[in-house]
């Protein structure tokens, strides 16, 4: 695109009081030969009108807005992304509001603040010079949704999707729809007044699915292979011998859970006596219409429910499955209804009936034949007469007790289907493998979030990065984000229901709807060549200059979203619709062949080179700050908002993600004579906050490697520092920056200055 750049400088909000805006305009005109305009309040109607009409007259399509933070007045300064490129130079928050003017005799402005403003402007202009409007990746995309799993979650997802006007392919491995819910006798209540258990929802659901013309159902079918990418998935479905392939836009994973294997619960008597059963078996007994002792078919006169059987237990399932308490209360009623003289014992660690479910607990309690106490089950002993004795410690009765029961029911927890299968741990890159051997502890410190994946044979993705969704914990392919429960690590594939996290039917139905919407959203955005969350609407995507590729495989391995496949030679094969535009691949590439239309290695390199570095004797050190766009950069703004001050030797460049850090930038910076580099990225580790999963961690890793090299080049590695910054950490920033400056002063000026 033929680019005509225009610079628009705002003097408002105290900017013109602290920096010489006219001088800034001169820099644009003299150094970059571009028109520049100063306005007292650029965001005002008049100001923006002037900008727009200059654009119209002068055919300006590259805008440099030097005013407030890009986070302010965003709507005012937004222009057609397909026809224009623009950048916001943050003069307000990050220059005039965050630096103490120190005005010398006879001068109107502080020269350091002025220099800061000038450099920020230069970088802005250079950025726009290196930007092109993105050209969206378009193709003949499918908008069909594939739902894997025909339980309540799967069926609901399918229906909700169809009702929104989209075609659905529903795949269930059993011969009939219904999943686990089909095995239920009754469901515990989910609406006020939360009393009588209701008949299961799955019957009507199956009926509705059958009737829905937009849903194409495959039962007794499995997914053999899923090839491709969002909008272009090819799902090979095997059904009684033959395989059909369906073109799919996005996928909802709803394969549900398996009850925890009771054979591992010998200590609770399972297998010791036939009269020790699980809540699952109990449900089936009740469905058959008579709750009896498996050993002799005698009607049950007493039953003991042991809650958290294998749940909240470090040796079994450390987590809570959320539904067992409610289920046991419900089943207690089964026993009592069948035999009004029956005694039912319930032994719990905590009764967990959250929200309005408390009303159900309250109601079940009223039954005089149900005896409850907190307690730790010490022993379960089969007796000669077929009954089972249960010893319970730490009870509320103030003593250790023993009860005899005809039937002992173990409330077993949920294991996500995706947890069943052998696991494979993905290394981040091949060096790691070598590193693993020589530097164990370094590995440990780095691989805080290994991309654990379990080959559960559910999706069988034809992805270089493994066949299933990466596991978050305990085999749940859940999102790591509280604010974004559908933030998946495989674009266009959304987990829902009890496979995502333990949840009951009511919540699964909600979750099914949520995942369905995300799938629909994905196909809609993809069809317009736009990215999905978190960089929604971003139309750029990586462009690889393959001639220079060395098949080092870093991009394929480091992409958190599995965007690249590989050919047999090891060449990366990009799938743009899988891309989330984090640009981690761009940072990973030693050959720097990966770039985006509006974001590239040379662009940041050029911005660094645009910084003016004073001579050593001027004693004006320079520090380059590369800051994560979502957390560190707003935090720097907050420093300004709070009018907290820090030294004015820093030059700030926002990055899409710190993971896009390319080591060449370090070389660019140091060879330019800049004295230090401060990287501000998100918290990483177990509770990582990087929305690109591994960005900040990878930056950390890359830096650790370059620091070794620096030492070899007799360049102090102290010149490089990486800090983990939360968005709310603004109060820490000035300290970090000033303290880093002291370190730099100790180390002394960069020897490359002036070269």
């Amino acid at each position: 695109m033929e680019k005509k750049i225009g610079v628009y400088i705002c003097g408002g909000c105290g900017i013109s009081g602290s920096v010489d805006v006219e001088k800034l305009a001169d820099i644009a005109k003299k150094e970059y030969k571009v028109p520049a305009l100063v306005h007292p309040c650029l965001c005002s109607a008049e100001g923006i009108a002037q900008v727009r009409n200059e654009m119209a007259e002068g055919g300006i399509n590259g805008l440099v807005i030097a005013a407030c933070s890009p986070r302010a007045k965003t709507e005012v300064f937004s222009f057609d992304p397909k026809a224009t490129v623009s950048d916001r130079v943050n003069l307000r928050e990050q220059v005039v509001w965050s630096h103490e003017p120190n005005v010398l005799e006879g001068k109107k402005f502080d020269e350091d603040i002025q220099m800061l403003a000038e450099d920020q402007l230069r970088m802005g202009i250079v950025r726009v010079q290196n930007m092109d409007p993105p050209e969206p990746y378009l193709s003949d995309f499918s908008k069909r949704i594939l739902v894997v799993g025909g339980g309540v979650t799967g069926m609901t997802s399918a229906l909700e999707t169809a009702r929104a006007g989209y075609d659905v392919v529903l795949v269930e491995k059993e011969s009939a729809l219904g999943g686990f819910s089909a095995r239920l006798f009754k469901e515990y209540p989910r609406v006020a007044p939360y009393r009588d258990p209701a008949s299961p929802v799955c019957g009507p659901l199956i009926e509705a699915v059958r009737k829905e013309p937009r849903i194409k159902t495959f039962t007794a079918a499995t997914i053999e292979k899923i090839d491709g990418a969002p909008g272009l998935f090819d799902a090979s479905i095997r059904q009684n011998g033959n395989v059909v392939t369906e073109r799919i836009g996005a996928i909802v994973l709803a394969t549900g859970f398996e009850p925890y294997d009771p054979s591992k619960l010998g200590h609770l008597g399972f297998g010791e006596s036939p009269n020790v059963v699980t809540t699952v078996a109990m449900e089936e007994m009740a469905a058959k219409g008579n709750v009896t002792r498996p050993s002799d078919g005698k009607t049950v006169t007493s039953a003991a429910f042991i809650l958290c059987a294998g749940s909240r237990d470090a040796n079994h399932l450390p987590y809570c499955s959320t539904t067992c308490c409610m289920t046991s209360l419900k089943q207690a009623l089964y026993v009592r209804e069948q035999n009004p003289d029956a005694r039912v014992y319930i032994f719990y660690k905590d009764i967990r009936t959250p929200g309005q479910y408390e009303n159900f607990y309250r109601w079940v309690q009223e039954d005089e034949g149900i005896f409850m106490t907190k307690g730790e089950v010490a022993a379960v002993i089969p007796e000669a007469d077929g009954s089972v004795s249960v010893d319970v410690d730490d009870t509320l009765l103030g003593e250790k007790i023993r009860v005899k029961a005809d039937l002992v029911v173990l409330a077993t927890g949920m294991v996500p289907r995706t947890a069943l299968g052998e696991e494979e741990v993905q290394a981040i890159s091949e060096e790691d493998e070598k590193q693993k051997k020589d530097k164990q502890e370094d590995m440990a410190s780095r691989l805080l979030i290994p991309t654990r994946m379990i080959k559960s044979n559910t999706l069988n993705l034809a992805y270089r990065q493994g066949p299933e969704l990466p596991d978050l914990k305990y085999g749940f392919p859940d999102s790591h984000f509280i604010c974004f429960p559908y933030e998946t690590r495989r674009t266009g594939i959304y987990a829902a229901g009890s496979v995502r996290q333990p949840m009951d039917i009511a919540f699964s139905e909600e979750d099914a709807g949520g995942a369905a919407l995300k799938a629909i959203q994905c196909v809609e955005l993809t069809s317009e060549g736009k990215s999905v969350h978190p960089r929604v609407g971003d139309m750029s995507y990586p462009d690889l200059f393959m001639q220079r590729c060395t098949q080092c495989k870093r991009c394929t391995e480091e992409c958190p979203f599995g965007m690249f496949n590989e050919d047999e030679k090891g060449n990366p094969l990009p799938n743009p619709t899988r891309c989330r535009r984090c640009s981690i691949c761009m940072g990973s590439c030693p050959e720097r062949i990966i770039s985006f239309k509006d974001y590239s290695v040379p662009m940041i390199g050029a911005m660094i080179k645009a910084i003016e570095v004073p001579e050593e004797d001027e004693e004006k050190p320079r520090i380059l700050v590369l800051a994560c766009e979502n957390d560190a950069y707003p935090a720097l703004d907050m420093v300004g908002w709070r009018r907290i001050k820090y030294n004015s030797f820093v030059r700030i460049i926002p990055l899409r993600c710190l993971g896009s850090l390319n080591l060449i930038w370090v070389a660019d910076t140091l060879s330019k004579g800049i004295d230090g580099i401060l990287l501000l990225g998100c918290v990483h580790g177990h509770d990582y906050q990087c929305h690109m999963m591994k960005g900040s961690e990878l930056a950390n890793y890359r830096l650790s490697k370059v620091q070794e090299t620096l030492n070899r080049l007799a360049l102090e590695s102290k010149r490089l520092r990486i800090e983990q910054i939360e968005i709310s950490d603004y109060h820490r920033l000035p300290g970090i920056i000033d303290e880093f400056l002291e370190t730099i002063n100790e180390v002394g000026p960069n020897p490359y200055k002036g070269f």
Binding site: C41, Q356, D631, D687, Q689
Partner: protein, 420 residues
């Protein structure tokens, strides 16, 4: 699918908290026009007033930043702050809605430069911090407020201060003549996401709230722990600013109680465990006593419970606090409960007592003006064709579940809006 590409009805989202914002952006990013109506001067609701989310202990503003960016960049979303829905007429697919906006006395020209705040002399209680400190009457609700625009308290509009602020504004953004304004919207469906309010602890006469200075509730603790809170993030005693050597948490302060809230609020156990963690972070020697009936850490949150439980300075005691006495000389709090595990009374003297008060659906007090009501006996909303609850107005939920719920609600709303 053609009908999806065709005309699309608009969606009204009532409430700009985490659930409302989610419903709005998710629907808009699927291609549907959305009106988002928030009664406060800023979006973000209760969530932005939290210090950290459990179990990750991450700041809510991180996700909010992304969501605000999504709103700014999405022309399909129109949001109104200081606005309330005053009327809803019609049926699914075709509602007519009246929205009334209170005067903000600051127009869109505001750059949030802060000049008005500097000259303003009047101070008002800071509702963002539950009145624990005061702010200028010309103020930004908090530094990450969205929209990034000042507010003038009605208190000063007719005063010299008002004029002073107006004079100080270089961008004539202050409009003292602003009056309430009502607009009418046509929408196909409605998402109700008006969220929750903390239960009024003054109604619990045996737990000392409002009587003893050092008895606070859990939402106040979030503000005390927040860097942008009244104490700059230091958890200290309200009575004398003394630091905390011992603290007690009273779970179910009104919840699971027929005299107050019969239901359980789901999040309070984890919230208190989280706040126990705040205290232990700030005071390595502090003793924490958490009294509960049942500890409810559902799902993988169990890991968080396990983690906190490993700290021997945090004592989790089964037994409800039912007696609270203030030591008049020290202003310390003496709490009492039966530790049912040992069958002995636990009586401890602490610097501060935190009441884990529960969630009341905002619709328990203020009903949405539907043509027909859709509430259960506790005031939680029930879904009806064209009208869908999302988040804590439907059932007590944590943030992640609210977002999940809101996303589902967005789809429901879309279904009623398809092809309208």
């Amino acid at each position: 699918m053609t009908d999806v590409q065709n005309k699309r009805g608009a969606i009204l989202v009532i409430g700009g908290g985490v659930a409302g914002i989610t419903a709005a952006v998710e629907a808009a990013e699927t291609g549907f026009p959305v009106y988002l109506v928030e009664k406060e001067a800023y979006l973000g609701g209760r969530a932005v007033r939290m210090n950290q989310y459990f179990p990750k202990l991450c700041p809510p503003t991180c996700g909010m930043e992304i969501n605000f960016k999504r709103i700014k960049n999405n022309p399909l979303i129109t949001y109104y702050t200081m606005a309330e829905v005053t009327e809803i007429r019609g049926e699914a697919g075709n509602y007519t809605v009246k929205v009334t906006m209170k005067p903000r006395y600051v127009n869109e020209r505001c750059t949030a430069c802060g000049k008005c705040g500097e000259v303003c002399q009047t101070e008002i209680p800071n509702s963002f911090n539950y009145g624990m400190d005061r702010v200028k009457a010309a103020y930004l609700p908090h530094e990450m407020s969205f929209p990034m625009r000042y507010v003038l308290a009605p208190d000063i509009v007719q005063t010299e201060d008002g004029k002073r602020c107006q004079a100080a504004c270089a961008y004539d953004a202050i409009d003292l003549a602003m009056v309430p304004q009502t607009i009418e919207l046509k929408v196909a469906s409605v998402v109700v996401a008006t969220g929750w309010e903390p239960y009024d602890a003054l109604r619990i006469d045996n737990l000392g709230f409002g009587k003893a200075a050092n008895v606070v509730n859990n939402v106040m603790v979030e503000r005390l722990a927040a860097v942008n809170g009244p104490t700059g993030g230091r958890i200290i005693r309200p009575s004398d600013g003394k630091e905390i050597k011992s603290i007690a948490f009273c779970q179910c302060a009104g919840q699971r109680d027929e005299n107050h809230l019969p239901f359980c609020s789901r999040v309070c156990c984890l919230a208190s465990l989280k706040q126990a963690h705040y205290v232990r972070q700030q005071y390595p020697d502090a003793d924490v006593y958490l009294f509960y009936i049942d500890l409810r850490a559902m799902g993988q949150n169990e890991d968080f419970l396990t983690k906190i439980q490993a700290d021997e300075k945090v004592r989790l005691i089964k037994g409800k606090i039912a007696k609270v006495v203030e030591d008049p000389s020290t202003k310390d709090i003496i709490v009492e409960a039966e530790a049912t595990a040992s069958g002995k009374v636990a009586r401890v003297q602490v610097d501060m007592l935190v009441l884990a008060t529960g969630m009341v659906p905002s619709t328990a007090r203020e009903k949405i003006p539907f043509t027909t009501p859709h509430y259960d006996e506790d005031g939680f909303t029930k879904d009806a064709p064209g009208i869908y609850g999302a988040g804590c107005v439907k059932r007590p939920l944590d943030v992640a579940s609210s977002v999940q719920d809101a996303t589902a609600a967005a789809l429901k709303a879309i279904q009623s809006a398809v092809g309208r």
